[in-house]
Amino acid sequence: MATSASTCSNPDCKVATDGKCVETYPLEECPHYGRPAVADIEPVDEQPEDSRPAVNIEPPVIALSLGEALGRAEASALQRRRASRAIGVVGPHFAGKTSLMASVYEILQEGVVAGYSFAGSSTLIGFEMICHDARAASKRPEPHTERTTVGADATFFHLDLGIGEPATIASLFIGDRSGEDYLTTADELSNAAGFFELKRADVVTILVNGEHLADAKRRHEVKASTPQLIDALVEAGSISARQRVALVLTKKDAVAASAHAERVVADFDEMVAGVVRRHGNLVTDVVPFVVAASPRIANAVKRGEGVSDLVAYWMQPVAAETPPPTQVLQMTRMIDRVVIDTEDDA
């Protein structure tokens, strides 16, 4: 209701009719003049509950699995579902650890890998995240890989892989931890205490950066630090008797493109021989591989080259499934692989 200057909130006042304040104030000083009388205030209807405007209530939501790399407990729970292979991947940063894990998944996007085909994964979002920066959708000028966070607990990428008809399915769990964290073991053995992903691994995969091995300034550091890291992991108990070891020369494309390809391979062969000499009587076997998980130049080598052989090695039956295999050291000369394969591709 509109109020006017001729009204008064005092019900005894007749100012509206006689123009005088009942309390004898000059009108401009009266505290009641101009305010509505209580009787004149329109009652406000109490709104019944059911006539109130409807509130748009979203239906309850069911949370689904995040699909990211798994924590230790999640991986353990999944491992109990079926036969599994746990893989530890150790390498300094830029050795190509994330590219290697992404490469396995990317090969499956196009077909089988080493006769194994995709049967499922609990970490599709995790894989998509690590693949993104090498894909055209990122609009990056060249492939890029995010570094794994230093100091963070290891996580696991998961793939269920089938082989045969009907398929026999086994789970593959690939551990992911920052390369810098592993390297600290060479400084202080106790730093290896938390590397649960290595202790539970069926295959410990040690990456040797082929690009760095081809670089004159970094070559000797790679040759020295890799065996020292392995020695430390063995002494700390992170690599133990029942395990197999894959020594992987990464970035085959960079090696093949360098002027020192033969020297790189000779250095790598020497490192492998040293590991076999020192630890061959401890671990189940030591097998070398050469891979190009995410080459930077198309056509130099095939994307994912060598990864199939590594996956086949990872997926070999573990001791509990078949009689323990006789120790076989596949010491074929890497020089032949790098040079001959490159010539073939050309």
Binding site: P59, V61, E128, A136, P143
Partner: protein, 286 residues
């Protein structure tokens, strides 16, 4: 006796779910159509939504986005060749709900309630399969064409950038997850827009293996208990017009010129081609 059966129709946005329902409803009601499942009766239910869809389909107009019209549940009472009657209920769920499951990792309970059927129709637009592509290959192609390196702004990762097959595999894995699992299910994979995809000269099985190998591997390995088959489906036969855009295409006129609207439909199973859009449903509920 009438058996009541639920069939869930799932697929990413633009996969052709609503067009499939429109063509199916027209087909079972078209006089003289030869189909595995036939229209039984209208004794129960409201057919306004289905009739609206079928009307647009017949006139050659694209369907209104389900996201705008909202989720609808439709039911058809159909009978097989032996006279057994089945009431089949199809929720018409917007594709955005399935994208949300992939991107947001959640599903609202209303949508979840529509996903409990033992029979699933999965539609994948065979003409819009997004494959992974790599920077190295892109750069090589650009260099081969003499193009300078691109200087586009870098795109950060987001879930919607994932290849089609990854999103579809995850959708199927979710349907078998603890949250939505109802046990073994049948799955009819329909590769829609087959009129555009058939230029590849592949069978539906061949296209699945060639363009969606991750999905094909997942299904073939049988880790999750899907009993599955794949069809190629052209539910329109060609391009339809958007009335809101006042579009007009000669190709749509040619479809309208066909003697019977059902002649626009093509259903491909292996080397066998028919117009029977009920065949996948008949297989699902049999």
């Amino acid at each position: 006796m009438t058996v009541e059966t639920d069939v869930s129709v799932v697929g990413l946005p633009g996969s052709g779910k609503t067009t499939f329902l429109a063509a199916l409803w027209h087909m079972v009601r078209e006089d003289g159509a030869v189909t595995a499942l036939q229209f039984d009766s209208m004794r129960k239910g409201n057919f306004e939504h289905l009739n609206t869809l079928a009307k647009r389909w017949r006139e050659g107009s694209i369907q209104e986005r389900t996201q705008q019209s909202g989720m609808k549940r439709v039911a058809m009472k159909l009978k097989d060749g032996a006279g057994n009657s089945t009431e089949i209920s199809f929720p018409d769920v917007p594709g955005e709900e399935f994208s949300r499951m992939w991107e947001k990792r959640e599903v609202d309970q209303t949508t979840a309630a529509t996903l409990g059927a033992k029979g699933i129709v999965l539609l994948i637009n065979g003409d819009r399969i997004q494959l992974p592509a790599w920077i190295v290959e892109r750069n090589a192609v650009a260099a081969g064409m003499g193009l300078p390196p691109g200087d586009d702004e870098i795109v950060e990762w987001s879930a919607d950038l994932a290849p089609t097959q990854v999103q579809v595999v995850e959708l199927l894995q979710m349907l078998m997850s603890d949250e939505l699992n109802v046990g073994p299910r049948r799955l009819a994979v329909l590769l829609s827009a087959w009129d555009r995809a058939e230029g590849e000269r592949l069978t539906p099985e061949g296209l699945l293996a060639a363009k969606l190998p991750l999905l094909e591997q997942y299904l073939r390995n049988g880790r999750d208990p899907w009993t599955w088959r794949v069809w190629g489906l052209s539910a329109q036969g060609g391009i339809y017009e958007d009335p809101d855009q006042k579009q007009h295409f000669d190709d749509t006129d040619r479809l309208r010129d066909l003697a019977r609207p059902s002649d626009r439909i093509k259903v491909v199973s292996g080397a066998y081609v028919s117009t029977d859009i009920t065949a996948p449903i008949e297989w699902l509920v049999s």
